[in-house]
Amino acid sequence: MTDMTATMAAVPATARRKQVRYKSPTVRGRLPVLILFLPPALLLFTLFVILPMGEAAWYSLYRWNGYGLPEHFVGFRNFEVLFNNAAFSQALINNGLIILVSVLLQVPLALWLAMMLAHRIAGVVAFRLIFFLPYVLADVAAGLIWRFVYDGDYGLVAALAGFFGAATPYVLADRGLAIYAVLAVIIWKYFGFHMMLFIAGLQAVDRSVLEAAEIDGATGWQKFRYVTLPLLGSTVRLSVFFAVIGSLQLFDLVMPLTGGGPSNSTQTMVTFLYTYGVTRMQVGLGSAVGVVLFVICVTLAFGYKRIFMRHD
């Protein structure tokens, strides 16, 4: 929504002046379009976004097992239970960790690869494809594949450990290690997406500016630091934005890998919601998690857009 207002604000001044002059015919001309095209979008948005959110907020004030109508009003009890729950705190920590790793490791990695793959050299398309492939794979399938890779009896990791004569690690069954194993899969799964964003961004960078820098005697690093990166700014900010929001909503990769275990050590907010809200039929508590998640997402999204993406 903010994008739209931003682009509209960016309409050249001349056009705006014209708009003012012919105000009434334009509005009259637009009205049928509005009537024709707004309702479907508005209806779908209301039906599938606004309404469920409102419902979740309402359910979160009840103790309800999902059958019939919620009748047992408990006020903010569900939120109280939630914030006293150790597994939920762990989920919050994990979500923070995932955001950190995504932003500090995944995005730079993607940028580095994109720098190498943005040039037109032989075989570059094949490499782009290979790096992008994990992103195309369904999350659940990727999770299952990695479950096999990590398997301590038959997996790749076990075979590697055996080759070096080390004891077989049961990575996904280890409270201390499981979350790092999950993080590795997250990076593997999503860096290709960010890489593609950067490649697109890099291709839009004006060659002549880089040439000018070269003529001025800039080194490779200086060219990157003072020319490419600033020109790539909006793409980086967008990429970080996607990484943050994606990290907060992480679910389908974790479920086949660990299901949030062992001992809730790999729980994210959404797997917590599923485990404690859905499988235990505590719809009220689950909705409370949904509300918290929504508030965090909205705050981060709008805050980020306000602060970092103001000019994009």
């Binding site: 999902g66 049961y170 062992p262 859905v278």
Partner: protein
């Protein structure tokens, strides 16, 4: 009333329009008017599925116009999806149930069909075809909530070859102390003593459940369940947790057991990589289905012994933990679904299912079908049971039950003390 009547034709018209629209989509594929009976299950053993398909096919051939559709959901997905599914228009007509608090809750919400009238018609003809204890176990406040299907009991199964290799005799395991000693001996011989499915959690809650039963007996558990007396903070329950922690300290399970799912665990036992498994009555069949080579352990190589007694405990070794499974019928099921269920669970068909080692039957007159000696032993144990307790995680309902599962894993893996575990279950119980 008047408004409703006035609206009725309108609604009918809209419905028929909708139906016409649907017919356009569905098209000619369903030209004949068939009654579809949707059957939701979680059976994974191919031979068992084949048996059901055969029974369904036979029924269909005898009743033209009935189409029985088997729908499958994996165990964990089944439990998670059911609440939503039951309230949708796409609800199955009948589905697998473990009875207990979960079934009671489903029945209370009105999602299920009350079977009392149907079962008690014609001088209780239908009801009388089953073992009375089975019907009683699926009855809440005098209303029958599911069609009985099978009974079962959890006990230890062991690999005779591995026991012999380590010099452990199953006959000698009478008490919990004996059991711990056997675990140590097996471990000393370089054999993984027990296959445990910590990833799915519930496979490990059998240990805590049995220890609670052996230590406290029926009254302690009933009190805890009803939130009376000391509830789950009863000393007997805390002692059970301590004994479980003691077992955990011996590291009796395979490496990475905290991430292992139940099928993996069965496979491990079937592959001969662990000496024991605490499991269901039909383990002989499931270990075969989940083993690496599809053959698993030979029947002669598998032994069975009941969960050991606890010295000084109030429970008897003849008390059994296990299932009483039935088929819960949803409220919109067609009469054909009931008729088919009666057919599926009649003595003849239950005998057939018993003959392939699938079930311990509940239909009277079907017991003689059991051919498998391990299943026979389970049936005998059940027949002599002094107290048959349903699985804790089903009996206590979804929210408390899942906490029991969590706590079992945490205690056995040394992450939580017995007191903390008991407190956590009690807290969940008080929130109910």
């Amino acid at each position: 009333m008047t408004l409703e009547r006035r609206l009725a034709p309108l609604r009918a018209a809209r419905l028929s329009a909708l139906a016409a629209g649907m017919a356009l989509f569905v098209g000619a594929s369903q030209a004949s008017a068939e009654t579809v009976v949707k059957w939701l299950h979680l059976e994974t053993v191919p031979a068992h599925l084949k048996m059901w398909e055969d029974i369904a096919a036979k029924y269909e051939s005898e009743h033209s116009g009935v189409d029985i559709q088997l729908q499958f959901l994996e165990n964990e997905a089944f439990k998670a999806k059911l609440p939503t599914l039951l309230q949708s228009d796409d609800a199955p007509h009948f589905f697998y149930s473990w009875g207990g608090g979960v079934l009671k809750q489903q029945a209370e919400t009105g999602a299920l069909m009350d079977l009392t009238e149907a079962m008690q018609a014609d001088g209780r003809a239908w009801e009388k075809s089953y073992n009375p204890a089975a019907v009683k176990g699926l009855t809440f406040d005098g209303r029958i909530s599911a069609v009985p299907f099978k009974m079962g009991t959890i006990s230890f199964f062991y690999n005779k070859e591995l026991f012999q290799k380590a010099g452990v005799k199953a006959e000698d395991i009478k008490t919990w102390a004996d059991f711990l000693k056997a675990v140590e001996t097996l471990k000393g011989a370089g054999i993984t003593p027990i296959a445990g499915g910590g990833g799915d959690k519930w496979p490990l809650h059998f240990y805590l459940s049995y220890l609670v039963m052996r230590n406290g007996g029926q009254s302690v558990f009933e009190n805890a369940k009803n939130n009376e007396g000391e509830g789950f903070l009863d000393p007997a329950i805390i002692k059970a947790g301590e004994q479980l922690a003691e077992l955990g300290k011996l590291e009796p399970f395979q490496g990475g057991y905290l991430g292992a799912t139940w099928p993996q665990t069965l496979g491990l036992f079937g592959d001969g990589k662990a000496a024991m498994i605490l499991s269901f009555e039909h383990t002989e069949a499931t270990q075969r289905a989940n083993s690496g080579d599809g053959k698993g352990l030979a029947l002669e190589n598998i032994g069975r012994f009941p969960f050991p007694a606890v010295e000084g405990g109030a429970g008897a070794i003849s008390d059994t933990l296990g299932g009483l499974n039935g088929w819960a019928v949803t409220k919109n099921a067609p009469p054909e679904a009931l008729d088919f269920l009666r057919y599926l669970t009649n003595a003849e068909n239950e005998r057939l299912m018993a003959s392939i080692g699938m079930i311990v039957p509940v239909a009277l007159g079907a017991e003689d079908g059991i051919a498998n000696p391990l299943l026979r032993a389970a049936a005998d144990q059940l027949a002599a049971s002094t107290w048959h307790q349903n699985y804790f995680d089903q009996d206590l309902g979804p929210s408390v039950g899942r906490v029991v599962n969590d706590v079992s894993v945490e205690i056995v893996s040394g992450q939580m003390s017995a007191e903390e575990g008991a407190r956590m279950i009690q807290d969940a119980r008080e929130l109910e």
